[in-house]
Symmetry: C2
C-alpha cells in the first residue's frame, strides 16, 4: 500500500473526519466535494486507491468507506499511547473518552509530581516519570501526547524517544529536537492562533 | 506585504516557534537549517522578505528576527479571542497563561450550562451562550477556540460566525460547514493521533 502518496493520505485522513459523523448514510462524491472543496475527480481517484467495493452509483456507504480508509492507512489495528504531563491540559485529555472507538488505547499517564500521580482521578494507571521507560516497554506504548510546560518538553521528549516512543503530539511551546525516527505533530494552541491570524482578512 | 507566499508564511510561522525559546541569542542559518530541515538558501530567501536589518554575518538576533516576522505576518497587534465550551479542555485553555506575551488576549468564555458559567474559576468573564453575539461584538472578539462536544460543534460554530467571528480553532471531532469567510484550524486530538499513526514505521 505504500504507493499512496502523502497528499492522498492527507486527504483520506480528512475524509475520515468528514465521514466520522455521517453514520451509515450514503454520501455522494458531490457531497464530499461540497464539504472538502476537492474536485470530484480527485475524490474518485483517491477512493480508487482503497480497492474493493466501497460504493454504488447512488453514492458511497459512509461506514464501509471509513472502514476501507482505516485499513488502507493502517488505522485498523489498535494503537497504544500515553499522556506525559498531567496538568490541566494533560488531565483534560486523560479524561476524554473518544479514543477507543477510533482504535486508540490510552494506556498510561506520567507526571514528574509523585503527589499528583497518586491523587489524580484517572481511567488509566498513572506513574511517576522515572518509571516511564519500564512502563512504555511493558505496555508496548507507541505514541505520546506531550502536555508538559515548555521548559520540560525537550527533556521529556528525549526520555520518550529513549523509551521507544515513535510519535509525539506536542502541545508544548517548543520545537522538539529529536532524531529522524520520531514523528512529531505540533499542536501548541498559540501556534494555532497565529496560523489563524495570518489568514484573517484586512491584515496584510 | 501580500507578496509573501503561503509556503513562506508557513515556514515563517514555524521559524517563530524555533525562535520562541531562543531568547536574545544569535542564531545562525546553519542552526535554523538543523532545527527545521530547510536549506539555508530557503531560510535566507524567506528572511529576505522581512526587510530591514535582522542579522549580521555572525547570525540572526533571535529577538529582532522574531519581531520582524511578527510584523511581516501581521502578528504585531493584539488579537482578541474567546473560548466556547468550558468542559475539561475548554477550562484547561481558559487557565493557560501564555497568550498575552504572544499578543493574544483571551477576552471571554462561553458555555451553555449557566451553572458552570457561574461557579467556574476563571481569569476572564464567563457568559452563557445566549449572550454570545452581544459579548463578541462588544469586546471586538475575532477568533474562538471551539471546545464543545461533537454534537454541539456545528451549531456553536454557526453562532460564532453569525456573531462576526473570523477564525476558529476547532477541537471538536467534526468538520465544520461554514461560509468561505471563516477560517478553521482543526485540532481534534484523535485526528492528530491518526496523522501520527500513518507515519509510524513498519505500517504500510
Amino acid at each position: 500500500m505504500d504507493q499512496i502518496s502523502e497528499p492522498t493520505k492527507e486527504r483520506l485522513l480528512y475524509l475520515m473526519r468528514v465521514l466520522d459523523h455521517a453514520g451509515t448514510k450514503l454520501i455522494t462524491s458531490g457531497e464530499i466535494e461540497q464539504k472538502t472543496g476537492w474536485s470530484s475527480h480527485t475524490i474518485r481517484k483517491d477512493i480508487s486507491f482503497l480497492g474493493g467495493d466501497v460504493g454504488s452509483s447512488m453514492g458511497y456507504n459512509a461506514e464501509i468507506l471509513k472502514k476501507a480508509i482505516r485499513s488502507a492507512l493502517g488505522l485498523n489495528r489498535k494503537r497504544t499511547f500515553c499522556i506525559v504531563g498531567l496538568g490541566r491540559l494533560g488531565s483534560a485529555y486523560l479524561n476524554f473518552d473518544g479514543y477507543t472507538e477510533e482504535g486508540f488505547e490510552l494506556a498510561a499517564g506520567f507526571d514528574s509530581n509523585v503527589n499528583r500521580v497518586e491523587i489524580l482521578k484517572s481511567p488509566v494507571p498513572l506513574f511517576p516519570v522515572y518509571k516511564m521507560a519500564e512502563v512504555i516497554s511493558r505496555f508496548g506504548i507507541e505514541m505520546a501526547l506531550l502536555c508538559v510546560p515548555g521548559n520540560a518538553a525537550q527533556q521529556s521528549a528525549e526520555k520518550l524517544a529513549a523509551a521507544g516512543i515513535k510519535g509525539i503530539v506536542n502541545f508544548a511551546p517548543v520545537v522538539l529536537d529529536l532524531g529522524p525516527d520520531i514523528f512529531v505533530r505540533n499542536a501548541y494552541v498559540v501556534s494555532e492562533l497565529r496560523a489563524l491570524t495570518v489568514k484573517l482578512p484586512g491584515l496584510l
